[in-house]
């Protein structure tokens, strides 16, 4: 009872807008939202049960049911023989550093492209968009040759630099979308107050880009975390291996045990899901903060 009244007042306070609409429409909306949520949660259930099965269940009759024997040993074999712990740390390091570099370079470039008027800014913008068009397979060998000539293989930076370069165009494009929304009057008044371009950037624009940061970060993360091609070719010592390569190495040439692969995928994915869920509330706060300021 108490719960019910509480919820009612809560909704009465915050969701007046929805209350105005037709209750039938509201119910339909929720049914739709919940069904869609289930559709999107299913892969997580699937991945989890997959990680606890053996090959005969993964490929046999029981493809989506709960495992008949809960093979927790898949996890220990992924951790011990597969060395997933180390690879996880490597991936985390590489991804974080790449995102940081990419965001920093992108924000600076976007500022120059959108908020300073100069001839050729459009051309430069198009030029930087080229990055979206390059298929990663095509650049493996040329980049590999460059890195090898520079004796720069088998370090973390061997991956960090190419990753931040490859996420750059996307980051610029997303931050452009956000930065053009910031009123130009702000720059004007800053200039009148005597701020130079640098100060305007750091003191005025950067704080306002906070909501965009998380968005760019997520999208850059998506590109780096699961990247396989570069990581496979550029890194040859297992000390610097990242998760996607480590997971792939769990399958054998002639025979493959899929259970430990499932377990490794859970290890690779669940922490990010948890971090994402935790962060997403922060992210939303930042969206709302951005909206109020904008």
């Amino acid at each position: 009872m108490g719960k019910n009244t509480k919820r009612d007042t809560f909704s009465g306070y915050e969701f007046t807008e929805i209350k105005k609409t037709n209750p039938v429409a509201r119910v339909i909306t929720y049914i739709f939202l919940i069904i869609w949520a289930l559709v999107n949660l299913f892969p997580i259930y699937f991945m989890f049960t997959f990680s606890l099965k053996a090959n005969d269940e993964i490929f046999g009759e029981n493809i989506i049911g709960l495992p008949r024997n809960w093979l927790w040993s898949n996890f220990s074999s992924a951790m011990n023989t597969g060395n997933m712990g180390l690879y996880f740390v490597n991936s985390l390091l590489v991804t974080t550093a790449s995102i940081a570099i990419s965001i920093f370079a992108a924000l600076m470039a976007t500022y120059a492209l959108t908020r300073i008027k100069w001839r050729g800014s459009r051309l430069m913008n198009s030029f930087l968009m080229l990055g979206l068009t390059i298929p990663i397979q095509a650049s493996i060998v040329p980049v590999y040759v460059i890195l090898s000539k520079a004796h720069w293989l088998n370090h973390y930076t061997t991956l960090i630099i190419p990753y931040s370069a490859f996420t750059l165009s996307m980051s610029i494009l997303i931050s452009t979308g956000f930065m053009v929304d910031i009123p130009y009057d702000l720059d004007e008044s800053a200039r009148i107050d005597g701020c130079g371009l640098w100060k305007t950037f750091f003191a005025i624009i950067l704080p306002l880009m906070k909501p965009a940061l998380s968005t760019i970060g997520i999208y850059a993360y998506l590109q780096c975390w699961n990247e396989f091609m570069f990581a496979n070719v550029f890194i040859s010592d297992s000390a610097h291996r990242t998760l996607p390569v480590g997971i792939k190495a769990l399958s054998g040439a002639y025979t493959t045990d899929w259970g430990p692969i499932g377990a490794a995928l859970v290890i690779a994915t669940f922490p990010t899901l948890l971090i994402y869920i935790f962060l997403s509330s922060k992210i939303q706060e930042s969206f709302i903060a951005g909206a109020v300021k904008g």
Partner: protein, 451 residues
């Protein structure tokens, strides 16, 4: 291409495999060899005889070598690699080996990129014939003639055919595999057969009987075309003979051979008669293999590397037998003509700083990997087996008996041909399986498209 790829190997009776055949039957009565249990440590004595030579080659000083291979944690060869490397470390404390294992498919990308950028490790795993051949013709591989000469008695020259280019040896074979006809005897019994039929007519009757009992005769993964070639190549070989097929694979004869066309039609009849699982078109090999082990198909033609896996499954192992595909045209083909041969190979980079030491190390390591791999049932030995081999699983022993009677081998088409042609070939095989082209279109198309 002037490179001569000797693939067809005529094994004169008792050559490589006689020892295997004996080993299976008379292992306890092999007093010349060390006793069964401590085999791993004791057999170390034998390679030790070669050790002074090897140590000489490595100039005595401490050397660090790097090796890439595909024996990942879950690969059936992993254990053989670990044992072999352990033994090598005991024999050569002055040599440090840093080895890394990569996944099969992505390794192909990795090693090719490494060759292009001259970043190869000292020792690397490779596939024989065309795959290694491209690296050899680019001058990236170290010649192993001097090193292999020391092992003449243990490694038959025929086993080096696939890694010999212009008369020079560039690779150390480890284990080899052939295509086997695996049969689920429980299902055959249901159809009234106690043995795998020995003639093609009986074989077809058996398939019909299976079909009448609602049992699917063949399982084949249409999504992975190499699985189709396991069937198709056997049918072609048993129709036109090993030499004819071999000549075509190696570019010495044209694809436009009506006998091959007829053989392809024979294969397609198997498809149109509904002997193959129609769902196979959308399945991967892992899925098909799981189906076979779950008792969905009576036959499964695939590489003999599966023996270890089948043997490891206690429930399934008693049911499965391996046999040779029957002869279709007795005028041209005979039993003992097999598909397969040594393909897994170790090679040494020409760019290696310690190429000589690496060569000595690679050859000895290859021998040990072969030894332990055979004991584990991962494949048949390319090297003459030594020590007690009675622990090898029954299926692998059955395969070595088939091989003991082998007259000639034709290497898998997609390994024998160069990369571009192999993929053209695979795309035609795909179309044959899907009944998009018939035998005539197959031979004419390949004759035109293969450069």
């Amino acid at each position: 291409m002037k490179m001569k790829r000797v693939v067809s190997m005529l094994l004169a009776g008792a050559m490589a495999f006689s020892l295997v055949a004996c080993g299976g039957a008379a292992a306890p009565a092999a007093p010349a060899e060390p006793a069964a249990e401590p085999a791993a440590t004791e057999t170390a004595e034998e390679p030790a005889a070669e050790e002074p030579a090897a140590a000489e080659a490595s100039e005595g000083g401490a050397v660090t070598l790097e090796m890439w291979c595909i024996a990942t944690e879950s690969d059936s060869n992993r254990h053989a690699y670990e044992e072999a490397i352990k033994e090598m470390q005991a024999n050569h404390p002055d040599v440090t080996l840093n080895w890394e294992a990569f996944e099969n498919q992505s390794y192909k990308t990795k090693i090719k990129a490494a060759v292009q950028a001259d970043e190869m490790p000292d020792i690397f795993f490779t596939w024989s014939c065309a795959f290694l051949g491209d690296f050899v013709s680019a001058g990236k591989v170290y010649c192993l003639d001097d090193e292999l000469a020391k092992y003449k008695d243990e490694l038959p020259e025929v086993m080096l055919g696939n890694t010999t280019y212009d008369g020079k040896h560039y690779g150390v074979p480890t284990t080899m595999n052939i295509v086997g006809l695996f049969a689920n005897m429980d299902l055959l019994k249901e159809a009234g057969y106690d043995e795998v039929p020995g003639t093609y007519e009986d074989f077809i009757k058996c398939c019909d009987a299976l079909k009448a009992k609602n049992i699917i005769p063949f399982g084949c993964a249409g999504k992975e075309t190499w699985c189709v070639t396991e069937y198709l190549e056997s049918v072609i070989e048993k129709s036109v003979g090993a030499d004819a097929l071999n000549d075509i694979f190696l570019g010495r004869a044209t694809w436009n051979n009506p006998d091959v066309g007829a053989a392809v039609d024979t294969f397609q009849e198997l498809v149109t008669n509904g002997y193959f699982d129609p769902s196979g078109a959308g399945l991967t090999n892992d899925e098909v293999k799981a189906n076979f082990m779950a008792g969905k198909y009576a036959f499964y033609m695939n590489g003999t590397w599966n023996c270890a896996d089948f043997a490891a499954n206690e429930e399934f192992f008693p049911k499965v037998k391996v046999a040779e595909f029957p002869v279709i045209n007795a005028d041209k083909a005979t039993l003992g003509q097999l598909i397969g041969g040594p393909s897994d190979t170790l090679a040494v980079a020409a760019s290696s700083q310690n190429a000589e030491a690496a060569a000595a190390y690679a050859v000895e390591l290859g021998k040990l990997i072969c030894h332990y791999g055979y004991l584990d049932g991962c494949g048949l030995p390319a090297w003459t087996p030594y020590g007690d081999t009675s622990s090898v699983n029954g299926l692998t022993q059955a395969v070595s008996e088939i091989c003991a009677n082998a007259k000639s081998y034709v290497l898998f088409g997609d390994t024998a041909m160069n990369a571009d042609d192999a993929n053209t070939y695979l795309s035609y095989v795909d179309q044959v399986y899907g009944c998009q082209v018939n035998g005539t279109q197959f031979i004419e198309g390949l004759a035109k498209d293969i450069r």
